[in-house]
Symmetry: C2
Subunit: 598 residues, 2 copies
């Protein structure tokens, strides 16, 4: 991994004219994050979190004078931020001019990265007199290269337009354009370094005095008054109910999506659960036990499953381009991956002498504590035949990535049915029963179903369509993103993304193209540590592929193959449906490749 | 079903100018075949096999004079053959001119269909003096509308060009173009009727004296000298080894494919098995039992599974059009469906104290009695994880559709692994064992794998690709066929075909289009009687859809959706691979719709 990243970054940097001039030598790169990872699976989180320098005399050099030189300042910022905004990459600076491992252009530059000695001097983001004051709206209006790129840190406003094109983490920094950069630095925490703060302050253009807006409602009758705090990194597709996805550029960085970055799909207000009064109620032929949270956590062995959960509407925004659909305008990040732990549904039922293999019913129904205005709960079901297939893999989860289930994800309990659409994995779970028919909820009977492209709201018959349970094979490019400008004259591009299939079908191949699908390359898959037919987690992948020569724009494409050799459809048009579900066509990302300026 | 067929045929007939003139009234239609069907599933074989007439005076009319009238002759032939060549349809003739159930154009014609009273007079296909003699090659050269359509019956040669356009069974009669029509009439046996013979003789143009060529080799050293007799209906893609598919137009007529029509995929000569010496040899950790055929059939309960088996190369001929591939040029009929019966693999292993759930290995390997020149057998394997998922559904089959397994299909034993590619369902099975690695056979290691479209013979790495086991979702239009001419001025078209997915994933929707995919209609599925997640049999479907107005040619399309909402890819180009496997793009059939002549 480290080598792979190193190679990639080296190529990026090789294209930076300023860096060429400065002659930076990269000697060591590794990857880092501070987020949870899968114990026995792919672990991208190896590496250190401190800067290293073998330039012993660098400390002696005047640091402020260095930053005043534009070229050096930019290079240093590139250096510092490379470890951070997006890529989480580090390097050290070498004095060894004779190294033949790196091209000459890397040699000669020596950077001073002395650690925290200036901590007392630097107060990033404090109010500074003599600078103009801006509103949050002023900053928000500056969110593109054309309009200028402003970010907020504390009370500081910074114009980083000039810097962005040199950002070694690619254009990931644009995720913060027009917004506060602080939430991103909470994730890429290496940024919180005096050197970076100092560099940042050199881009200071003003102050912001407004207190960040709270989304909390002050209306005591608002059913959404008790919503949980959420990461400002999440990009909402609706506020009430709250639905949001993480920035797609960050999605494929980690095998396990951190809880606060996990996409949120709520259908109703988040219920407030008093854990002492909470019970999980089972309606069984052998009785109707109610289990307290403590009973669940103490009386049963803890079982775990690592699984991707995906909204049926993931990538819906691509369908909208073909023809309008009804639904939240999800991007490509309405999918996340976590390790869920709790009680095995099978073991729970066996405790009450109910054998899932022999129970007489056709469906197993789940209800949540989230309710509609008429008091009826969110509900969903899966066919008993499917429950039998999955049996030991279905978990009544009370933990997510080793933490108590967050409120947005179903605290205290969520039923995890791996390989199945998110909508059936009922959150705030408090009722389980068997039934001769499907859940009668709106979401089971009048939503989350598939139709062909000629079905519209005049002729649709929801009763005739089969409810979505297991999902088809899908993939997406997370980085670069649509419209992104690659490095000037870039000859290669590094793609990163995810691939996943429902039904536990593992991903066996991911094909990527940098010429709209004319030429294909196999991406490098990062094994998810699961077996081919019980592969519930996603498979992250990376690929380093040549760009078509002489083109100033091109279309990047990805398509995945699962263990049953199911493939993704070529076009969105062929799978368009009025609800915009199941949007799993080849994922296409258009990028620009500016010519090298003469 | 009967009504559906009746409606379809009525529409076809309504377009026939001659019939309109004659005024034929259809009063009864039903379907018939003489082939095996699924007991508890879709049964297409209801109906009678005798002609009915309520025209009591029809017998009194001069029969020969009637046939001399061109219009009446054609109508009668239409009438008689409607029950036969392809469609297997019947009707009776009614005198009731006042019936308001049928359009006026059907009324007025009275046919004489008196049964076998002329049997003594008619000797179809005998040598007739005074007629020219033709060779089989002469006949074979007349296999299209342009070149003329000749068929053989006995020693008779017939030019049926004039007749074909009026054939009520559509152009299914073209299956026999340039060949003997006898094998088809063995299936559609209602043709063997004196009336039909008499009509046929009126198209007689000559004699054929050649004895039909036998495929048997006279070379005692030919490893293929002991091949079984095969139905002349099968269309070979290679002779040695023998590989053949049934005429696609006949494929979707029956839920269970008759044994002699089941596609044949042999990799080596068919072994000659002396049943008294035959054993199935197991190599287990608990011992190495050899079971006789009698033990297998007597000592274990008979278990059955109805499953479609498909060659990985089915529909390869479509891939060839994109770019050449290596492999047999299969059409759309390298798939068939049958009920297989035998011993449950799980029960067999348990008898020897081997539990498939706990046995320590990674693969289960199967070997056949068919051998390569070096004596090594055909072999294949599946992952043990997959075997565990399928457990009770894997059958050591000795019966196929209630008959002993035919030699071409593995007599005496074939391992049936439903939902998995045909190549792993080893025929002439005589060895089963567990292994830490895949079968080392050529077909497991250097064949039956998938690659992307940019992989060619210079860069292919078979070791890197996952062996094909479960197959993806597929469908095909069986009728009409590519290039077919529909009825003049037809406004609707009836499509028939199959849909299937590997892994036991049932088909939940089949979309058809008559305008190249711009407009979609849902086909009517014929339930296969299996459950959604253990759906190993195919799903036959039919659809009656409008043709685009004013177009003289159009493209028919089908695509299917399985219970996991996997779909077929739009284009062949996107899934092209150097071996031409897994050709499951939308199936497209181009048809012509001649304008009505003024």
């Amino acid at each position: 991994m480290a080598n792979f990243q190193c190679f990639t970054l080296a190529k990026r940097l090789s294209l930076d004219a300023n860096l060429k001039r400065a002659g930076l030598e990269i000697t060591r790169l590794c990857r880092s994050t501070s987020l949870p990872t899968a114990g026995n699976t792919y672990n991208p989180n190896a590496g250190s979190r401190t800067f290293h320098t073998n330039s012993e005399d660098s400390h002696q050099q005047g640091k402020r004078s260095k930053w005043r030189d534009s070229s050096a300042k930019k290079s240093a910022l590139v250096c510092a931020l490379a470890s951070a905004a997006g890529a989480g990459l580090y390097w050290t600076v070498s004095k060894d001019k004779n190294s033949d491992k790196h091209p000459k252009t890397w040699q000669g530059l020596r950077l001073s990265l002395p650690g925290k000695v200036f901590a007392a001097e630097i107060q990033p983001g404090v109010l500074r007199s003599g600078l103009p004051t801006y509103s949050a709206a002023d900053v928000a209006a500056h969110d593109s290269k054309e309009k200028g790129i402003w970010v907020i840190y504390g009370n500081g406003v910074y114009d980083i337009t000039e810097y962005v094109s040199q950002h070694p983490g690619g254009t990931k920094i644009l995720m913060a354009a027009g917004k506060s950069i602080e939430p991103f630095w909470e994730v890429y925490s290496v940024h919180k370094n005096d050197e970076i703060f100092e560099i940042m302050e050199s881009y200071r253009i003003g102050n912001i005095t407004e207190v960040p807006e709270k989304s909390k409602s002050s209306d005591a009758n608002d059913p959404y008054k008790d919503e949980p705090e959420r990461s400002p990194l999440l990009i909402p597709s609706s506020q009430k109910p709250f639905n949001a996805e993480p920035p797609v550029q960050m999605l494929a960085d980690q095998f396990l999506t951190p809880n606060d970055m996990f996409y949120v799909r709520n259908h109703l207000p988040v219920p407030c659960v008093c854990i002492d009064n909470f019970t999980l109620d089972l309606k069984l032929s052998t009785g109707s036990p109610s289990l307290t949270f403590q009973q669940l956590t103490k009386d049963f062995p803890k079982r775990s499953v690592t699984a991707a959960i995906q909204c049926a509407g993931n990538r819906r925004s691509e369908m909208v381009k073909v023809k309008p659909v009804k639904g939240l305008n999800w991007g490509s990040a309405a999918i996340s991956n976590a390790k869920f732990s709790g009680v095995s549904l099978n073991e729970l039922l066996l405790r009450y002498n109910v054998d899932i293999d022999t129970v007489r019913a056709k469906y197993i129904v789940f209800e949540g504590l989230d309710t509609q205005p008429d008091g009826s709960p969110y509900g969903a079901s899966i066919p008993l035949e499917l429950a039998r297939l999955l049996k030991n893999d279905i978990i009544v989860a009370y933990e997510m990535n080793g933490q108590p289930l967050p409120r947005d994800h179903g605290y205290p309990l969520r039923i995890i049915i791996p390989g199945v659409v998110g909508a059936r994995q009922v959150k705030w779970l408090n009722k389980i029963y068997f039934s001769p028919e499907e859940s009668t909820s709106h979401w089971q009977r009048r939503d989350y179903k598939g139709f062909n492209a000629s079905t519209d709201w005049h002729n649709v018959d929801f009763d005739k369509s089969v409810s979505i349970s297991q999902l088809p094979v899908i993939s997406a490019i997370c980085d670069p993103v649509e419209g992104q400008e690659l490095e000037e004259g870039a000859e290669e591009v590094t793609l990163k993304g995810y691939a996943w299939s429902g039904g536990g079908r593992g991903i066996i191949r991911v094909d990527v193209s940098a010429d709209g699908g004319k030429t294909w390359h196999e991406a490098t898959l990062k094994p998810n540590g699961q077996t081919p037919y019980h592969s519930y987690a996603w498979t992250l992948w990376e690929a380093d592929i040549p760009l078509p020569k002489g083109e100033t724009k091109t279309e990047l494409v990805v398509k995945a193959v699962d263990v049953s050799y199911n493939v993704q459809p070529d076009s969105v048009a062929g799978i368009w449906n009025l609800r915009g579900c199941l949007s799993n066509a080849w994922h296409r990302v258009n990028v620009k490749v500016p010519l090298v300026e003469a």
